[in-house]
Amino acid sequence: MDLEDAISLGLDEGADFIEVREERTYMTMIRMIDGVVRELTRGREFRISVRTLYRGGWGFGIANSPDEIASAVKDAVKLAKLSSRWAEPIEVDWPSFKGSYEVRGRKPAWQTPIEEKIRIVEEQDQLAKSVERVTNRNIIMGDTLRETRVINSLGTDVRQTLPRVRLAAYIFAHEAGVTESAFESRGGIGGLEVIEGTEIAEEAAKRAVEALSAKPAPPGPHPAILDPKLAGVFIHEAFGHAAEGDAVVNNESILTGKLGERVGSEVVSVVDDPTIEGLYGFYRYDDEGTESRRKYIVKDGILSGYMTNLETASKLGLEPTGNARSMDYSNPPIVRMSNTFIDRGDWTFEEMVSEMKQGIYAFGSLYGYTDPAKGQFMFKAEGGWLIENGELKQRLREVAIAGMTLEVLNKMDAVGKDLYHDPGMCGKMGQWVPVTTGAPHVRVSNLVFGGR
């Protein structure tokens, strides 16, 4: 059965709405440890997912081949009818989209011989090896090619082909009983040109060695400067998730009902933009087929938008922003971020440091998370520097930073000019999708550090 027939069948079975997504993925993964290739993997996946809506209830299933589409559609309609027993009806007054978009890249990774990819990984390994006191080098390179077609009963029919490449280095250094590590990565949409010329392994190696002399951070509240990686994760975790339409609609976000209100100091503007070509979180169409677009979530401190999919946009009375994304064929699309960042300000990093009498410069991001209902967040910095009288004095170890989202946004009093986007994977409800987190350096008048 072809996809168009699947739509007709779903409507015949009684669905109010049906969406069919065909997805092919090809991937390669190379993992080198201390110069030895420990993993050389190639894989491919192909599936068709079916999502149906019946009187407010959603049903979801997958077909492993075109032969199984008819039974997947019938099952998905039955599941939607089951869900509708408890659901509130939804009006399907959503827009539809048509188009196709394809990125191949100058040097398509999928067509590159495996030996050439191994050479790229080896070069990074050698860069890290050349740094004294490095004791363990882990270089990982992964590339994927994702081809999707989304059609639905409202007339949407979009095709998209996106290749992604990412190179990462996780380096350990040791001296006098102390072991430290650092992580660095580059990645984006396109071919191998995305990672050409990078020296991530050397950067990570130097930071791991530098950390050997680090001390635990002094615990408690301090004035702080956050580097672009850390500030980017902060805005993603602490604020971005709270601005996702599902959390807002469900009254599980501190931002519910606050559109148009001040949520941060006037130096803060926050953007989600899937249209920036080349960035890891780029896409032209989201996984519901909606054309993506740039939008301000916060403009000069005022909450000016949410990120939405078709359903939450309708419920909030807003336009869909093209933020419906799914990890793969086996998951329905949910509201997600793309390339999310704090927009540029007019400070330099040097100005921020020189004006600080006592505080902490925290840099690098290991991970972070948030509870959008309470508005509480945690993010973990790879390290930091103690600042005294406008100078970086003592290197600090990995440290957790905890706070309340809106308090911190209000305490953000300087934003740098140096916007930087960092690739990563964002998890929500068990689904991981590629994103970038971005920001310039920012200064916060007070943050709680969890040192020892």
């Binding site: 993997t41 408890w86 659901a87 191994i118 072991t179 209902a373 969890g450 040192g451």
Partner: protein
């Protein structure tokens, strides 16, 4: 069968040895938003991952949606030809006798109908609505049945059926400008390991109790970690810090420390892959090697790492049966179910709270640093303890400690044993430094 075809094809394509890992999963899930069923889904997947070796060169390939295993086997062999030599690779695993555990597959869970699953889960959702202050309840129930098989040219031929359930409920609360949240979750391989009313009530109760919050300053205090606050710390000690690969490459703070005292002598920490019905249990690991029970820490002394075949052969020891993977990756090393054994420190759960001033941590998501063994993280859900009573909820509370200090200052273990996410144990009390923005 796919796995046999794949191994055969790899050998025919030039591999000297080959192994196939086959995983069939049938999963149903109920996703609830704002108290209503949002999506019901049913998904079947079949995946195959193949390792092929030529001398010391190893290749891997995987695919889903297969009608034949031949192509994956051939691709794995081609990848092996392209791979450089790995001097530490000593061959794919040899066959070992597997004693099968019967308590891994619950027919009631395997046959659970989606309607019944939805009714069961909605009982949890309703149980979370303890008052009007609970403004939203969301969550997800996932139930799966899987068939796992490993077949290799070295004589491994094992297969078994397993069931698994995981449920979590999140409740959001609001009272004027005050906001709170709570959660409850459960997992297991048997249907009756999910008590929907208990999970729901737990989420609702925490949501209401976190409405009234306060903060503290920087203090060193007795801190009680409930079981849900330990599964990112204690299993980490085994699955990451005592992971043989991390030790061999010098990544872990426990490198070269076998025989060192790292906990007080009343404490042993054990990894067990054979406890009936627990999610971490299986008859064999992801390489077909029988699972077992490993004392990682015995009487406070770091005794043994956990191994898969590769890491064990590198050291010339037996695998501890801790290989883990899905079909898309070659085997890594993971812990099964980790627990603390310390009968001399055992006491009633309420006795742990008998301190003048302390903190009760219900939940943290943070893990220690692998290379330094230091923990710096947030007490995501925590309460103040004053004169033996649990009082206000705490916000913005960070914690910092060395894992060894955590294990050396531990002076009590509660009888409130829970099993979840690869951890089995009761509350523990330690003395550590906590930091907040200051008392309000």
């Amino acid at each position: 069968m796919l796995r046999e075809e794949a191994v055969e094809a790899a050998l025919s394509s030039g591999a000297e040895e080959a192994e196939a890992f086959e995983l069939f999963t049938r999963e149903i899930s109920i996703h609830v938003e704002k108290g209503k069923v949002k999506t019901a889904s049913s998904v079947r997947t079949l995946g195959l991952g193949v390792r092929a070796a030529i001398g010391r060169k190893l290749g891997f390939a995987f695919a889903t949606n297969l009608t034949s295993g031949g192509e994956v086997g051939r691709e794995a062999a081609e990848n092996a030809k392209a791979a450089p030599e790995d001097p530490d690779f000593r061959g794919l695993p040899d066959a070992r006798k597997v004693d099968y555990i019967s308590e891994l597959m619950d027919p009631k869970l395997r046959d659970l109908d989606l309607n019944d699953a939805a009714d069961l889960f909605l009982t949890a959702v309703e149980s979370a609505r303890l008052s009007d202050k609970v403004v939203s309840v969301s969550g997800k129930l996932e139930v799966s049945f899987s068939e796992v098989a490993v077949f290799s040219s070295r004589g491994i031929d094992v297969a078994e059926e397993r069931t698994y359930l995981s449920a979590y409920i999140e409740a959001a609360s609001k009272d004027g400008d005050k906001r709170g949240s709570g959660f409850g979750f459960a997992d297991g391989r048997r249907l009756d390991m999910f008590d929907p009313e208990k999970v729901g009530r737990e989420a609702g109760d925490l949501a209401i109790r976190t409405l009234d919050a306060t903060t503290i300053g920087v203090e060193e205090l007795p801190v009680v970690f409930q079981p849900k606050a330990q599964f990112t710390i204690i299993p980490f000690l085994v699955g990451q810090a005592a992971n043989a690969e991390n030790l061999q490459y010098g990544r872990s703070f426990l490198t070269n420390r076998i025989g060192d005292q790292i906990a007080r002598e009343e404490i042993s920490i054990v990894d067990d892959g054979r406890i009936p019905w627990l999610p971490g249990s299986s008859s064999f690991d992801a390489e077909g090697i029988p699972t077992g029970r490993t004392y990682v820490v015995e009487k406070g002394v770091f005794k043994s790492p956990i191994h898969n075949w590769y890491s064990a052969m590198k050291e010339g020891v037996e695998s501890t049966g801790n290989a883990s993977r899905d079909h898309t990756r070659p085997p890594a090393i993971s812990s099964h179910t980790v627990s603390i054994e310390a009968p001399a420190l055992q006491m009633k759960k309420d006795e742990l709270l008998d301190v003048k001033r302390g903190v009760l941590v219900v939940y943290t998501m943070d893990t220690p640093n692998l290379s330094t063994g230091e923990f710096s993280g947030m007490a995501e859900t925590a309460f103040l303890i004053e004169n033996g009573e649990v009082t206000k909820s705490l916000r913005q509370t960070s914690m910092g400690f060395r894992v060894e200090d955590f294990l050396k200052t531990m002076d009590a273990i509660g009888d409130d044993v829970e099993t979840l996410m690869g951890f089995k144990g009761g509350s523990v009390r330690v003395r550590i430094k906590v930091a907040g923005p200051g008392a309000r």
